[in-house]
Symmetry: C2
Subunit: 417 residues, 2 copies
């Protein structure tokens, strides 16, 4: 422990800190003369330092006790750093290829050091705005989701293991409360934090606040988010929580982790891909109409769900004799009932995914936090047109999600708008 109590680090005190922590200074072979430190936190909640010298590198992420962009007026528990580290390590153990290695954790300082994801790694959302294709993205992220969700659910775990994690992650309540507010509540009411592309979407925002059916559906999803302890989820799996190259996919920023509904993670990812899709018309330029890119996004959406489904079922079949409490082999080991229950389970999960995905889309258009995909469209009228299409799809998905039988039908619905 380098410091006895929490203090926000700056580039100077960070060097002191590193010198005092052997696991960090040894990564740099204790050489501090050629050290470079860069603060790169573009998020709202943290300082993120990249530390590099000729011998090695790492990232230092320190949680601050408030939402950075809103200043100290929106306090945020810095204990989230503990849960981020806990989830990073657990998900990393299950997916070492898709989660950066954790080098050092300091709960008092609300600080984590982890692998520096060196260039050309960039935030996936920036890649989507730039129009880059990532041929392995669906393969990788479906692997990540299938493994994190399956192995931390009652399909694999005993009740004892499950309740231990449920209890521990109840401590991350402040982050859950933030999600409840900004995803499931604020967009459906008048809130000082809401914003949208005004005046173009004024009517659309109002229509959401007055749509009783939509509000009933979002209440049901909120209940699931608050009450259903299904798996240890990432809790914020949008396209800015993923760093990519053409060969690598790395999931970061798990400070919202808790034991919640699986569909919230899958929906976050797919919903944000759908936002990226609808932004493309606004990002098109002379000589690059983005038509082929839109097709790639749609294919990635389709592949992600289908690969997830496939991999999840493979894990289930492989581990059906495990200690998972949900479906004991003594009851469910005949092939017919096994198939029936997998179908029921995956159908429910698909509908949860569509609902949560839709809620995540809506909140990015009429809520507090917007996405670069749309924000990069300078022309407000053009941006509003893109956003309105995304809203339209999201409302359909949220209200009629139980009618969708396959991801192909979702793709068709996207294309129809």
């Amino acid at each position: 422990m380098a410091f006895e109590e929490f203090r926000p680090l700056d580039e100077k005190s960070l060097v002191e800190y590193i010198k005092a922590v052997p696991s960090l200074s040894s990564k740099l072979e204790n050489k501090f003369d050629d050290l470079t430190i860069k603060e790169v936190g573009d998020g709202n909640l943290n300082f993120v330092y990249i530390v590099v010298n000729s011998a090695g590198s790492f990232v230092i992420k320190q949680a601050l006790p408030y939402v950075r962009s809103l200043g100290e007026s929106w306090p945020m528990t810095k204990e989230r750093s503990y849960f981020e580290a806990r989830a990073l390590k657990e998900h990393g153990r299950l997916n070492p290829e898709h989660v950066p290695e954790v080098y050092h954790v300091d709960h008092i300082m609300s600080l984590i050091s982890m692998r520096y994801l060196e260039p050309p790694h960039i935030i996936l959302r920036k890649g989507l705005v730039a129009g880059n294709e990532y041929p392995l993205l669906a393969e990788h992220i479906s692997e990540y989701m299938a493994r994190t969700l399956f192995f931390t659910s009652l399909l694999f775990r005993s009740t004892t293991e499950h309740k231990r994690d449920v209890a521990e992650f109840c401590g991350n309540v402040e982050m859950c409360r933030l999600t409840e507010q900004v995803v499931f509540s604020d967009p459906y009411k008048v809130s000082q934090y809401n914003r949208w592309t005004s005046p173009y979407l004024d009517h659309d925002a109002e229509a959401i606040r007055e749509d009783n059916v939509l509000k009933l559906e979002v209440a049901e999803l909120k209940s699931k988010f608050c009450e259903r302890a299904q798996a240890l989820i990432h809790g914020d799996l949008h396209t800015s929580s993923i760093m990519v190259t053409r060969e690598s996919t790395q999931v970061i920023d798990s400070e919202f982790a808790f034991v919640g509904p699986m569909g919230y993670d899958i929906g976050a990812f797919l919903g944000n891909l759908i936002l990226a899709f609808f932004a493309q018309d606004g990002l098109a330029r002379e000589g690059n109409d983005r038509k082929a890119y839109k097709e790639w996004i749609l294919k990635t959406i389709e592949d992600t769900w289908n690969l997830f489904h496939y991999k999840f079922i493979v894990l289930w079949d492989e581990h059906k004799e495990s200690s998972g409490e949900a479906y004991l082999p003594g009851i469910y080991n005949n092939p017919e009932v096994q198939q029936l229950l997998q179908k029921t389970y995956m159908t429910d999960l698909f509908h949860d995914t569509l609902g949560f995905g839709a809620a995540k889309m809506i909140r990015r258009i009429v809520g507090v936090a917007h996405v670069e995909d749309f924000e990069s469209i300078a022309d407000a009228s053009k941006r509003a047109t893109c956003e309105r299409r995304a809203l339209e799809l999201a409302k359909t998905l949220l209200k009629e999600r139980r009618k969708f039988q396959s991801i192909t039908e979702v793709i068709s619905a996207i294309q129809k708008i």
Copy 2:
């Protein structure tokens, strides 16, 4: 604290214990010459002593680290006593008229002292076997259920309060595991603990183990039991967890309490009343055909649900401006949406209630623990006939619960068998 470490008390050491605990000895005005102590635990899990002298009285309940009737071969955590006391106090705070007052709690000794429910209080199940009517039962138990479930749910509570209880009661995991096994698993597979009225019900028990649809439905209920943190439930609200007179209804034995699905409590009560109904034909004697009594049971089932529904909605309407996280007034305060969501919520709860009630019925006929209602029928063939009717109804309720629109339809289904 009278003793430094756990030891099972007997009638002699209990006196020593009481002498060493001022809150207990003062109840007896420190007089020990006219003391009577009677061990009355007819349950499986505990010693229960009634302590009375001329000055006062109380009950001492001590949890043992195994299931008493199965000896030390089925270990049971004695920490359940902590959760029993915790739930008794919380539910008692919400319903002082229907929960006995707690006088003293000793976690080391796994011991609770509470009000002695003096005669003519008897266990409700015994009253049902005897054919006694309790004109206030539906009124009282619906009040108890409406208040315990409403005030400990997100309809009234903030996420912070909710997750605090969820986390704490995750510690009662051993009791949840016991329920998972004996209610949701063992009856649907071959298990050394299962028993039934053999040979009459051999085929019925086998049919349950081979009914794929039934097993799918029970898996869904088990998931809800394991994953859905809806309210601080009693966890074992059958008719032996309730003591009654014509004027008084008292809920005891909350050692299975945790934050779980509301329908599990309501279903336990109603399911056990339905078992009592089907037992009556076997309990009929010359001169008492129990026909009128069966009508009273049906009326009590109907009244309990209807009164619960009414009281729950009244609480909801009264507290819709509370800090409950589920439906924020800023979103859901127009009468139309409020009515819609109450309807959806109560319909779901009704279907959960029927499902859990049915599961509780099935497990009492083909699982480890049977009920006195049927066990009192000495003629095995006659008993089997009663049990088979109850099984038939339970299977219908479990598989087709979503088709039932009202409790009246359930009553009709009971009458038709």
